[in-house]
Symmetry: C2
Subunit: 326 residues, 2 copies
Amino acid sequence: MSIDAQILMALRSAKNGGVSGADLSEKLGISRAAVWARIEELRALGYDIQASPHVGYKLVSIPDVLHADDLRSRLQDVKVVGRDIRVFQETTSTNDVVEKLARDGVKEGAVVFAESQSKGRGRLGRKWVSPPGKGLWFSVLLRPNFHPLCTTQLTVASATALVRAIRSQTGVQAEIKWPNDILICGKKVAGILTELSAEIDSVKYVIIGIGVDVNLQNSDFPPEVRNIATSLQVESRRHVNRADLATAILREFDIDYGRICAGQFEKVAEQWEQQCSTLGHNVCIRVGDRTVYGHAEALDTDGALLVRTQHGHLERIIGGDVTLEK
Amino acid sequence: MSIDAQILMALRSAKNGGVSGADLSEKLGISRAAVWARIEELRALGYDIQASPHVGYKLVSIPDVLHADDLRSRLQDVKVVGRDIRVFQETTSTNDVVEKLARDGVKEGAVVFAESQSKGRGRLGRKWVSPPGKGLWFSVLLRPNFHPLCTTQLTVASATALVRAIRSQTGVQAEIKWPNDILICGKKVAGILTELSAEIDSVKYVIIGIGVDVNLQNSDFPPEVRNIATSLQVESRRHVNRADLATAILREFDIDYGRICAGQFEKVAEQWEQQCSTLGHNVCIRVGDRTVYGHAEALDTDGALLVRTQHGHLERIIGGDVTLEK
């Protein structure tokens, strides 16, 4: 772990107290002058660190920036998701960056954030607006040892992780629109883009791309989506710290990924079914050139949606564009 | 098309007659001296081109080399597969090269051959021996507009194309071992490695890697596979021209790919079922950590194998390691 991350971790674990420069110096094995220099660097990044003779250094507030070392230091407890974190100022798309890492053999659990994306994308190559500093745009690399068919399980896990993290960080109750959208009051606040590289019967790697509209104003959205998109700030009426939200999402996702790898997808599916606004409704689903009408009944063990069609039989849908029917 | 390819095409279409230097010069818009220079180059590559004052130039025999322009000129009639051909002297794996082309946006139908591969691979990263000049090691880029589940259809199509091409070029009747091996008298002569890049419900691209042991001697195989592997030369007891075989495979595959894109997979499946040694037998299939025992009954519309298990129900298998049971 970097010196910065160690300093931030020490300041955090001190909670309301402070840490003396002497303690930090001893703990990190660097001089007190070097400690002071690092603290100055962190202040320049926006970390509000007070210093007083009796209390020592004290972390008062953190800035709304994504700092790889800091995020990493806050995720000491994760098993896989988030054990390697990289933050880019700008990328084409974080999924593209992670794909390169995957091909280079990087281990699963790596997460790439970008402060902005020049070519952010949603499903089927649709454009995803990702203005600098206002959202979370990131991608997670996974190498699950399962059949390509099970990949939908990971979309399900990331969706329910998003809902739990949004709830804990903002108090807002979001809902899942199958398969890959997170809505608040019917408006889209986050999306998931799952991409996989596979042989016929085994996954090489899966990339889960996640975009969350955190602190966007209504005016940040292109006119054509303003009525159907929203942000956490708009819905909660307060600024949301992105680093706090990011660590919450990764920690929740790590828990569910662990469940899936242990063959306990049903535990993930249970939560998902409670959070999903698609289940129990009549839906119209476009799958390629085909349209399926029916009643969304349940999720199956691969994460596919089971739809009872007009003709009475149960159809298994893996992906598509869902519209709720009245 | 290159000048070389045009010359070879003109010589081929003359069949038993010849083509005069004057005709070639006029047709190609280059001087007779330039025609002569190109002919010399082709001779240097091993093309046996005779010249006589009355008959003109005449193609007597072609060398056992893979010449991109020549292959291309012989595949004028294909719709997709083989309309862009590239030949490398050596690559790591032709699937890797095609993956790069795919990411660069190259159109479907591109085919990459390598005279040898330093890291040829089979399913699940298994090593594939590919000594220089003795086999066909190539990969095809496809961008089918269908669900990832349908990808198995392409493995099926390439398998049956291989069987037909081997039959027409060598007279030998090969058989298909589901899902991706081609056998002659129970020994493996060719293999197919299907890799895909996809979103949850749509394919971005599929790479079909094909390896055919054409003119390998028994001693070319590593000792550990000598009893289970064979080559077309060993089985047919004659040297097989690789360019002839390559064009035959690509032409057959192009026909079946056209059928699949037109929604007529059942026509491909029909041939496959006749050529498949797995159907009608009791099989043991390892799928990841699981083992399925049963009777291989049929192929379904996605190319999956339908196996009647010991418990009487029909299981749908997408991939795995098959062993025939006595």
